[in-house]
Symmetry: C2
Subunit: 391 residues, 2 copies
């Protein structure tokens, strides 16, 4: 656990997640940027920040691309290099990775990485179609499959291979809604029971309505600098000590395994090695629960348990607040919400709060080492970061 | 002119630009990647390449986002971190900038940056709408203006301020079609006369059909490494010695000037200072002639002439092959074509050919220092790079 800090987070911001009626993505993003700037009074945003990367998944929602410049403009940073990164639902995980490159390059000492999506003004059918653009058009979309179907195929394979049950999968929803009930920025702040999940209608067997993450509006950002400059801006930095990003075939049909995401395994390996951290040393994690099943698969791919034992791990309660390794204390994509482009840096925002002791009712005691895991599409992108508190 | 190399280009590839019927973007990109890999036999693509950034502007064309992973897959590089960058028509200029960060970061010694767009299977109305997503939705698109209109407003302001004429603007089309006639990969390889341009129908006064760049399919990529590693892969690297990227308000209406792009001025200043190069030392340039007028404005913003004298410079013939500073020897966006996401790295491809003496009939004699200039939208992004031959 001696991996040197790559970069340090000196501040972070997140808009309220939910239905943000009447607002444009840029307005929601400025809410996140405002929090990050206000939290760090020693930072002079207009002079100090030298680059920005913005995760944004779909220009169809608002008929608006060119999101990097637009968000820089509305954050009061017009002039700086600002680039949109897109890697499906891992768009702002990729923004974070790109921001780390930028800080390490020596060309930009202070960098904002963030993400944004405005989705709820569209119908569910529209959102489903726009999201599907992150899967393979000729070989998947064309034939009518959308993301619930793709993840249902993986869940089915996992049930077949390991005996994972619908109840086990449903437990991730129950846990994450409990966590969400403790997060004042979460889209859903209500606890739900296992019965509610099990009784909800099937979207794509075995996944039911309550196994699916939320269509949400939201934005998030974090501010990075070199570790040696962090003390200039804050007494409470959080260090990023490991970073891994990996890709896989865009189509699920070409993969070697349907029960594990190779991109996650690769990204995690890189991040753990860089951080000199083992999965057992991770105190808490935010993982990509776009569907409840994906959380169980993430436990396995990230090494929190053996392959096939994700179901048992969620049953054990060890990933619930108070357990050995709380997962998705923010409520996750399931309850906090999943404004797709904003999710990666929203995970980093939660880690920043937790590792600086600012997570309120959902604070994990003595949290020192955290991990975030952000997946794009059905797993053609995975981004893993490892964080260490400065204390 | 002593700026140290930031990174070195060890290879480059570009697909044939044009109407590539029946092909998907990924297939067109693999054509570019194949050329780049073949050109550099000492490179082991699957083992050596550690990251990829892909400029891609619109997921609407093929209903396909998540382009980074898709292109990595079809280039045989599945596994590596692969991210799509989007900054409108400067998407692959931003990919190049991101790739430079990655190489300088020390996390990725060899990086592919490229871009791709498949457009011609869509109607002109569809393409116009998709492109418009890079302008301001609530304040521009909503009211019906599209890019020809936005650039026409700037051209009109320039004519008013400086007396620039329609004939002067049209000369950029004549020159670039001449250059395109010498480029076997250009979309249009036919010379045109001033009369043809002047007699073509108005799209948005004063811009006529022949003042507009082409709707084109195409892909391009270059391979970057650290300068100290370049000799391992090639005897003929091209060094990038300056890099600048800047942003501006996404809406034209908020700008301080309508006759100059502040983002270009800022990006050029950064790049020139880093390279320790003056505009007078530039031997040739590829500039963003999405509309002929934009080329004249680029001359001014890049310092090739004084503000307001772009019209005189094109009239002088100095920017034609054989002149003092040939501009858009590739044919530019006007004649080579403008597959939007591919344009930035296609400019870098031309620079690679020219600075290694491989530009055939359009070779600029004794070219040592080159510049590329890639603009997104109506100027909310501008990316400038400066190159130096290793000889």
């Amino acid at each position: 656990m001696n991996g040197k800090p790559l970069v340090s987070i000196i501040s972070a911001g997140m808009s309220k997640f939910g239905k943000r009626e009447g607002l444009l993505a840029r307005e929601i993003f400025s809410e996140a940027a405002y929090e990050a700037f206000t939290r760090c009074p020693k930072l002079n945003p207009k002079g100090d920040i030298k680059a920005m990367f913005i995760g944004h998944m779909g220009e169809a929602y608002e008929h608006q691309g060119h999101t990097g410049s637009a968000m820089a403009d509305w954050a009061g940073l017009t002039g700086i290099p600002a680039t949109r990164t897109e890697a499906a639902c891992a768009s702002s995980g990729a923004a974070l990775r790109s921001g780390i490159y930028a800080v390490l390059s020596g060309l930009a000492d202070v960098v904002v990485v963030g993400g944004v999506e405005k989705m709820t003004h569209r119908t569910t059918a529209e959102v489903t179609e726009y999201l599907a653009m992150a899967s393979d058009y000729p070989f998947e979309q064309w034939h009518g499959i959308t993301f619930p179907g793709l993840f249902a195929l993986m869940a089915t394979a996992h049930m077949h291979a390991y005996g994972t049950t619908e109840q086990q999968i449903a437990l991730a929803a129950v846990k994450n809604h409990y966590h969400g009930s403790l997060n004042p920025k979460a889209h859903m702040q209500k606890e739900i029971t296992l019965e509610t999940v099990m009784a909800s209608r099937y979207v794509a067997w075995p996944l039911k309505l309550y196994d699916c993450s939320l269509i949400t509006d939201g934005a998030s950002c974090i501010i990075l600098t070199k570790p040696e400059l962090a003390s200039k801006y804050t007494d409470q930095p959080v260090h990023i000590v490991g970073s891994g990003q990996a890709s896989d075939t865009i189509g699920l049909y070409e993969r070697k395994s349907f029960t594990s995401l190779n991109a996650t395994t690769l990204a995690a390996k890189t991040a753990y090695e860089m951080a000199q951290v083992t999965p057992q040393q991770v105190d808490l994690a935010e993982v990509h629960d776009c569907f409840t099943f994906a959380e169980l698969m993430a436990y396995e791919d990230l090494g929190f348990c053996k392959l096939g034992e994700g179901g048992k791990l969620i049953e054990s309660g060890e990933t619930r607040l108070g357990g050995r390794i709380p997962v998705n204390t923010s409520g996750g994509l399931k309850a906090k919400g999943h404004p797709v482009g904003a999710t990666g840096t929203a995970q980093a925002y939660e880690m920043y709060l937790q590792l600086t002791g600012q997570a309120g009712k959902r604070q994990v005691k003595d949290a020192k080492v955290g991990l975030t895991h952000n997946v794009g599409g059905s797993g053609a992108t995975s981004v893993v970061h490892i964080y260490r508190s400065a204390q």
